[in-house]
């Protein structure tokens, strides 16, 4: 056997891309595009690619003709070129197919549509296990007529960028644009802790203020006024875990909205909504709990 290493695909490369790549090779082998006796790429090597993403040596038989070697190199080159030069959306879809299923937007929380310029809650007992894209909890105000008109703050974990950090974050948009979330700091508290998140329009200065534990983090200038208040956990795929477990619920306590300068506690059971694939909730008074049914 001769070691033939046109590329070295290591852990530095991306899991999803490698996975897709390995499927392509499997397809080639299993569909008899090359006669199997001339393509001794071991099954375990393919499994190693997709499961461990370790360095990929491709062993080729010494009997393997140069033309087939060249074709393999061209095939690999084309695959890598495609992965590296495709559109952002295309790469994401490839990744989605490979490792994240049911990609979408899912919520477990309370939603109130009506006049009100603020929303706040004490969000506690945060824990999030493995995820695929993201898992977050937040309070929000927005304008229900525009999907981008919102201002929110809370906890956020984004697997793409960090597999261990949960961040305090804010995100906002105008009626025509939604800006990416901004990470304020890393959350280092453990189970049993809580933070108070508030989003409200301050008519005194004309800005929406995002507060964490009573400290204004940002003053947001927007082109809408609020008629939507939300308190929610959110995930983006089947594999994303909702915060909390069935024995350790995460809590949204004292959920309130601001109306005519006064804060009112919601009756949470009247406003609950749940469409996460594996999320569950219970609600009583102004408090509700959420958890992932796969998590203890």
């Amino acid at each position: 056997m001769a070691l033939f290493r046109p590329y070295s695909i290591t852990r530095f490369s991306l899991r999803c891309d490698c996975y897709v790549f390995s499927i392509d090779l499997t397809y080639i082998v299993t569909n008899g595009i090359f006669n199997s006796k001339y393509v001794p790429i071991a099954k375990e090597t393919l499994e190693k690619i997709s499961a461990h993403m370790e360095t990929l040596p491709i062993f080729l038989s010494t009997r393997f003709s140069q033309i087939w070697k060249l074709l393999i190199v061209l095939l690999i080159s084309f695959g890598l070129f495609t992965l590296s030069s495709g559109s952002v959306q295309a790469r994401s879809n490839a990744c989605t197919r490979a490792s994240c299923t049911g990609v979408g937007f899912y919520w477990d929380g309370a939603f109130r549509y009506g006049s009100g310029w603020g929303a706040d809650a004490i969000i506690g007992d945060y824990q999030v296990a493995t995820n695929c894209i993201s898992s977050s909890t937040w309070t929000l105000i927005g304008n229900q007529n525009y999907s981008t008109a919102l201002s929110q703050d809370g906890y956020l974990r984004l697997y793409t960028w960090s597999n261990s950090k949960t961040y305090y974050f804010y995100e906002y948009g105008d009626t025509s644009i939604l800006y990416d979330p901004v990470m304020l700091s890393a959350m280092t508290k453990g189970w049993g802790s809580s933070d108070t998140f508030s989003s409200y329009y301050n008519s005194g200065n004309g800005y929406i203020e995002e507060l964490i534990n009573g400290v204004v983090q940002v003053y947001i200038h927007v082109d809408w006024s609020a008629n939507d208040q939300e308190w929610s956990a959110e995930v983006h795929s089947n594999e994303d875990r909702v915060v909390g477990g069935y024995n350790h619920h995460s809590v949204f306590a004292t959920d309130r909205y601001l109306f005519n300068g006064k804060w009112y506690t919601i009756n949470a059971p009247s406003y609950m909504y749940n469409d996460t694939p594996h999320g569950a909730y219970s609600a009583s008074g102004g408090t509700f709990y959420v958890w992932d049914t796969r998590q203890s």
């Binding site: 999803c16 790469r91 009573g214 927007v222």
Partner: protein, 198 residues
């Protein structure tokens, strides 16, 4: 020479039509202005211009990415973050952490993979963190912080937008940024902020 009655009538009609035309144009313009604004936008009397923006971004160039080097006036990224060159006096008077150390620290916050990284030294301001005039609440302004902007790049972007529950018929917006910029305090090594660029 005396004007003929017909000519006088024509002039009167012309002036009349002109006045009516001007009024109609004004009415149409007003209606267009109303229609183009969101029905509930600014219902609470908010000003259309963020008063902080002009003063904080004066002299900067608009940008959508963290550049490899800063122009003399600095840049404003996505109307949210201001990066200005760090003066030589600041650089000489402060003990700044090295670029490599900043990248190492940044990797604690972007650790899913060993992302490609670069770092830019700048004076960093988050516009939205700056209290408007008259604000009295406790706040956390981030302004003119000597900082390393450590830019990590992924070839596998995922949607980062959280958004909200939308109404039937509305689409949830998504965005798949390629860069995560971790702002590290260049004097302390502390995490200051993290933001995405396309």
């Amino acid at each position: 020479m005396k004007k003929s009655p017909n000519r006088h009538a024509r002039n009167t009609a012309f002036v009349g039509f002109a006045i009516v035309g001007i009024i109609m144009v004004a009415v149409v313009a007003a209606l267009c202005s109303t229609w183009s604004s969101p029905s509930t936008a600014n219902a609470s009397g908010k000003a259309n211009v963020d008063a902080r923006f002009l003063s904080l971004t004066a002299g900067t160039n608009p940008a959508t990415e963290v550049p490899d080097s800063l122009p003399p006036g600095g840049v404003t990224i996505n109307q949210q973050f201001v990066l200005k060159p760090l003066s030589s006096s600041v650089q000489s008077n402060l003990a700044l952490i090295a670029q490599s150390e900043a990248i190492t620290i940044g990797r604690r916050y972007a650790n899913t993979q060993p992302f490609a990284a670069k770092a830019l030294l700048a004076s960093f301001t988050s516009i939205n963190s700056i209290p408007p005039a008259g604000a009295t609440e406790p706040s956390h302004p981030i302004q003119n912080i000597p900082a390393w902007i450590v830019t990590f790049t992924t070839t596998n972007p995922q949607n980062v937008v959280q958004g909200k529950r939308v109404q039937p018929g509305q689409q949830v917006p998504t965005h798949f940024p390629t860069h995560l910029n971790i702002v590290i305090d260049a004097t302390t090594g502390d995490f200051v902020l993290g933001f995405f660029t396309a």
